[in-house]
């Protein structure tokens, strides 16, 4: 990764009060439909936290600030936020950050242009305020509740945690890219069972904020896309104290047209693979994994079952095998290709992609990404049919089991990634054995 050379300094408006215990930051861009609810929820959450209504481990917040980092909305988002905050807008601090002409052209999967610069400005603002905890919320979320603020800030202020990751309730079919690649790979690499490391919200301690600001990730090429994942990896690899907070459902207001699966996969998996290259000395020493405590009670939610055409997924895998097999041989050993060949003829009901095979495939692609056996964009896009095959296999295994059973199935997959990790380590160290 090379530096873009862009300036990353934040120009924070100086607050009237220079210190606060908690900063809640809202990152927004053309979110006029949702920002009102988000701001109102933040205001209520802070009120509950300051008058002791909400649990913060027995403490209440004396002083808090709200930060708004808007990416140049042209739909009146900042005005709408100020209106929704009402009297609380007195504690609002608007932070600005440099924007580049190309921000809107390179659309990230999370739909937030200049995400890294926004986050950096927020963290610099929080650091200036000298807060003990900083919570970041996205202005495009439809389901923010006041309880999210104490849930993300409480473990930092009273529990001594450095990084609080939200744990959103999701249907077993949803978030498959996270469940099938990001989580198990992240867990195997960094040794922590952080289940949703790519989400855009988090709570962080002053110590973590300082470490983030010192990190050299802000100006890297893919920072605007992968910064959330990299910050989670930084917390996991940096020895910080991590926990998860159950927040219920997260639905998002879509900014513009959604990306196709191939591009999403390139961005998400690519940024994770890029992170691997920068933390070799950390992940090669990690063995096994430790659980991350879940702080708080999960709210009751009803999850809708998404419509999925499993046979269509299997057909996509088969088409991929027929046409992309030659490309896969650049990164996968012959044995894996032969194992995949066996899946071509099985009937859909018996279609199963073994966990250890899937783990090796992901590791092979990580290594291929590192060695640039193909242009990286081509390599990652060619993973799409394999991912769809894995997804079909997973759905067939969990569709008739309760949600706990689906979670257990993902746990089994994550264990396979941990068991196969020596495969990655050995090939990473001795790449000449690659493709044998």
């Amino acid at each position: 990764m090379t530096s873009t050379g862009s300036s990353s300094s934040a120009e924070a408006t100086k607050p009237a009060a220079t210190t606060a215990e908690l900063a809640v930051a809202i990152a927004s861009y053309n979110d006029v439909d949702t920002i009102g609810d988000v701001a109102a929820a933040v205001r209520s959450g802070l009120e509950e936290a300051s008058d002791g209504t909400a649990s913060l481990g027995g403490a209440s917040i004396v002083e808090s600030r709200i930060l708004l980092a808007d990416g140049g909305s042209n739909d009146g988002t900042p005005q709408r936020a100020r209106e929704a905050l009402g009297p609380a807008s007195a504690s609002l601090m608007e932070v600005t950050y440099p924007r580049a002409a190309g921000d809107l052209l390179d659309v990230p999967y999370h739909g937030r242009p200049a995400r890294a610069r926004a986050l950096r400005a927020i963290l610099e603002g929080a650091h200036t305020l000298g807060v003990k905890a900083c919570v970041v919320i996205d202005g495009g979320i439809r389901t923010v509740a006041p309880g999210w603020i104490p849930a993300l800030a409480g473990p930092v202020l009273e529990g001594g945690f450095d990084y609080v990751s939200p744990f959103y309730a999701r249907h077993p079919y949803e978030g498959a890219l996270t469940k099938g690649i990001v989580y198990p790979l992240f867990r195997a690499l960094y040794g922590v069972r952080l289940r949703q490391p790519a989400v855009g919200e988090f709570g962080g301690s002053a110590r973590l904020v300082e470490a983030y600001l010192d990190a050299d990730v802000w100006d890297l090429d893919s920072a605007q896309i992968g910064i959330d994942l990299w910050l989670a990896a930084g917390a996991a690899a940096g020895g910080f104290k991590l926990c998860e907070a159950p927040l219920g459902r997260r639905t998002f207001h879509t900014r513009g047209e959604a990306l196709d699966l191939g591009t999403t996969l390139v961005q998400v998996v690519g940024t994770l693979f890029a992170d691997l290259e920068g933390r070799v000395d950390v992940w090669q020493r990690v063995r096994g994994s430790v659980p991350v405590p879940l702080i708080g009670d999960p709210p009751a939610v009803v999850l809708e079952t998404p419509q999925v055409n499993v046979e269509g997924l299997i057909e996509s895998f088969r088409l991929g095998y027929r046409e992309l097999r030659d490309i896969w041989t650049w990164t996968m050993p012959p044995k894996s290709i032969v194992d995949l060949r066996r899946l071509l003829d099985v009937p859909p009901q018996r279609f199963r992609l073994d966990d250890d095979l899937w783990a090796r495939i992901v590791y092979d692609f990580a290594l291929g990404y590192r060695l640039r056996v193909l242009p990286r964009d081509h390599l990652l896009r060619s993973l799409t049919p394999l991912y769809l095959g894995w997804l079909a296999s997973m759905i067939l295994q969990v569709r008739d089991v309760p949600p706990e059973g689906a979670d257990a199935r993902i746990e089994q997959l994550a264990l396979a990634f941990e068991a196969e990790k020596p495969y990655l380590v050995s090939r990473w160290r001795w790449p000449e054995r690659f493709r044998t």
């Binding site: 978030g175 998404p306 419509q307 999925v308 046979e311 490309i327 896009r381 060619s382 049919p385 997804l391």
Partner: protein, 232 residues
């Protein structure tokens, strides 16, 4: 009379001997130049191969997408390919320089015309190499993109894009070295016109059933499975 004959024979012999004497140094120079160029070619090949190997050139070439794993490549090592190219360049240049040393009009003209042609040959070779790499890159991108869009005829699309680009590169290269300019123009006109005409006729007349079945099949292909799923 015999004296006259003897004189003519002597003069002829003298002219032949003079010619041979004048020609022989050129041949010797040609042989020396050839020997030196052979020697230089092998030394250059050895030095370049060693240098590129020590610089791990093959790996860097792969990293920037300049892999020699091309369909038309004779070797799997870019270093070896470059070393061989340099070796043959030395040999050919040695031969051409040697030919100019001969005291003969035709070889000299041939050599000089080749020298005049050389920049065009280099440019044509570069066009072919860049065109070949670009065709391969685009062909692979089209293949992967089409598969991810669940298009059954992804391979056909990929090959079409790849060969179209390669043919354009080949035509540009041939045009640069001045081979069949008008024929090329005509051939391309006929080719593209023919393709468009064939598609029009296929749709309108003979293959309308096949085309309608193909369109129907495409429409019946499984709908994008990511439509209702949030993957991240």
């Amino acid at each position: 009379m015999w004296q006259q004959v003897h004189k003519i024979v002597n003069e002829a012999s003298s002219r032949i001997a003079t010619g041979i004497v004048n020609f022989l140094p050129g041949v010797v120079v040609l042989l020396v130049i050839l020997a030196v160029s052979v020697l230089l070619a092998f030394v250059a090949r050895y030095v370049i191969l060693r240098a590129l190997t020590s610089l791990d050139f093959d790996r860097h070439a792969r990293q920037i997408g300049l892999s020699a794993h091309t369909d038309w490549s004779v070797t799997r090592s870019p270093s070896l390919l470059i070393a061989r190219a340099v070796q043959w360049t030395f040999l050919v240049l040695g031969l051409l320089i040697g030919l100019t040393a001969l005291d003969a009009t035709m070889p000299q003209q041939f050599a000089l015309s080749i020298f005049g042609y050389f920049p065009h040959l280099v440019a044509a070779a570069l066009i072919l190499i860049v065109g070949g790499l670009l065709a391969r890159f685009v062909g692979r991108a089209v293949l992967i993109g089409a598969v991810n869009m669940h298009i059954q005829s992804a391979r056909v699309l990929s090959l079409t894009a790849k060969w179209l680009l390669f043919m354009i590169a080949a035509a540009m290269a041939l045009d640069d070295i001045g081979i069949g300019r008008s024929v090329l123009l005509l051939a391309f006109g006929i080719l593209f016109g023919g393709i468009v005409l064939a598609i029009a006729i296929a749709v309108g007349l003979g293959a309308k059933d096949v085309v309608s079945r193909a369109i129907e099949r495409q429409l019946r292909e499984p709908s994008k499975p990511e439509d209702t799923l949030d993957h991240v």
